[in-house]
């Protein structure tokens, strides 16, 4: 499964997130997500996650390393700027 910006993804725990932006950093794909409520409203919970594909399954791992987060968040912010959200 591939995910793109402006798509709502549903996780294994039933929570839904909107993909705000996507970037590549050191051969890995990262996403900037914001939680979406059941009635399709945004919630004040955002995440920066790293993609991890295992065969046809897609896992998202929260980024916790400070240096990695620092670098990735800059790239994701820049990508978000160019997202017209349409």
């Amino acid at each position: 499964m591939n995910i793109n910006i402006n798509e709502i993804i549903k996780l294994h725990n039933d929570l839904e997130y909107l993909v705000l932006s996507k970037t590549n950093y050191q051969n890995s794909c990262y996403y900037y997500l914001i939680e979406v409520s059941k009635d399709d409203d945004i919630k004040d919970n955002v995440k920066i996650v790293k993609e991890n594909k295992v065969e046809d399954r897609l896992f998202l791992i929260p980024v916790t390393n400070a240096d990695e987060l620092e670098e990735v968040s800059k790239l994701l912010s820049a990508e978000l700027e160019s997202n017209n959200l349409e």
Binding site: M1, I3, N6, E7, I8, I9, K10, L11, H12, N13, L15, L18, L20, S21, Y32, I34, V36, D40, D41, I42, K43, D44, N45, V46, K47, I48, V49, N52, V54, E55, R57, L58, F59, L60, I61, P62, T64, A66, D67, L69, E70, S73, K74, L76, S77, L80, E81, L85, E86
Partner: protein, 644 residues
Amino acid sequence: MNDKKLLKNVIDEQLKTLNLMGKMNNVSARNIDNLMHEITGNLLRLDELYEEEIATLEDFEVHSVEEELTIVQRIIEISKNREEMLTKSFDLDDKKQKFLADLFSDMAIETAQKGADYEVTAKQLEAEITLKNDFQDDTDDLHDKQKQLSKQISEIKASIIPCNQFDERLIQDYEQLLDNYKIKDLTDGEIANLKEEQTLRTSWQTSILKNIELSSNLNANLNSEFEEVLTSNSHALRDANDKLFLLDLSKIVKIKALSYQELSTKMQEMYNVVASYEESSSTYLYPSLALKQQYFTNLFEKEAEEIIKQTKLSDKVADLEKQKQEVETEIREKETNPRFAETLTYLPLQSKARIATNEDIGMTADFKDITLGTGVVEGTAKLVLSDVAKETALSNLNLPPDVALIPDFEVVQKRKAPSKLLEKVKKYKKQLMSIGKKAAAIILAGAILFTAGDNFIKKTTTNEMTSQDVMQASVDNTLTGHQYVINQSDGTKVTIEKNQEDVKEVSPTVGDTVKITKGVKYYRDASSAILEKNIYEVGKNTLREGNYFVNRVALMTKDGNLIRLDTTKGVSSEELAKQLGLKKDEYEVVIHIGSGDQDGNFIEAKLGETSPDDVCWIKTGGAYNKGLILQKQVTNNLEGGKVR
């Protein structure tokens, strides 16, 4: 032969060789050292295989407490074999082998400890299964009883004749009696004639009786003739009496009874009248007909008995209905019992959480850095083995290591975002971009999930806050216990009070009831809570939002070492710190929570032992705050306890 068995055989052979080499004079020390290195390597490899097997089992997805018990029992078995391998392989009379035994003694102790922890867990699981089965058996028994009662009630109800039907039947029987006596349709004139006949025959009867008395000693023939006349008149008189009596009885019989109680009263009245009539008239008026004297009494007695029976049936139904209601109440209480519900709802990862709570700090101080294969044992081969084994086990399961530990983050579905939602996001785009730039700082401040606080969205909808403003709000949110301070773009500051319950400065005390809300982080052990390791979150992991009891209070150093643990009901962290002469900045407070017993009562934990209701550890700031809401303070008058 599997890998472990093969390796064990090789090790056994190598140890034998080592023993022989020690006894030979011409073997170089270098060769012995080389062999010992090989043995050490093989033992590590064998231990690694055990570790892999345990790690695989630990990560095995289970769906019920019974499955979990099977897994735990298997882990115990493997741990025993592993411990045996690390202790009993060596001939301790052989110096070289004794050296190897000493070398592996730490690992053996660690293995034994882990096995012991799992044995405690197995006992907890067995207790949980017993509790669940007992609950289930009790509930099944109650359901059976309920069915039995329902069946009995239905059967009895089916045999009950409705009161009006019974009354109708009684009236019909009476009408039949009138018919038999050919008086059903008597006219008023005929009734008057009958009464006249009764009067005449009564008078005649009295006269005959006197004549019999007079003639009895004078003339035997005459006496005999009088006797015949008496018999004939007695029959006729009784017939007239009976008819008039039956006609008179209609005054009672034809009053309709609306309940069995009324019917019973009516019947008793009839019975009394009939009995009185027969008793008073028979012996005096027609002694020769004495045998027939209880004809009516017997006739109505049967009806009376039937009414009593019917009344008793109704009473029996009422009694059974009451019993059924009591059983149903008991079933409801059982089925809504939170502890019962908990036994029916299996929580994955329970076992790991249990293992964590088994690690009572006082008991396992030497092992506090070891947590289920994810921990670290400094400077030993075990460190390498644990990590390798874990990674191998995970790769065997085809899951990436991090994902296996956070299974919630698998993407299962996707869809296009509605335009309305995207429009809304556009409004906050600037803030979202700014947050992105500061994400690392926020996460370094202690949060993995980036949470800007309650005021973020609300505030930005009405006020174009700068990114700096949002950051300030967020950081203050994490750093202060009482207020959010937001710097506005015009340079002023807005101070927002937190929810009063959140800021209530109450020192955590053993026995308190605390509501744990969503988002609160919890841990397997007190040390992890201080060091922010192995973090779980209420609502995202297995622990649910709800009320729990504080059953342990621990004071910890800032670097995660235990200062004091107390389980005495009524003892507060503040009191403990005071006793130890600690200043506020010299310790951290970590509480352990328990779910209480099946009736929701507090269970006092014991030092050095696990409690059957143990749940997890939670870090507090020395007071109930950040999602911990005090629901009920433990009372001050505590037998054997201390006061807050």
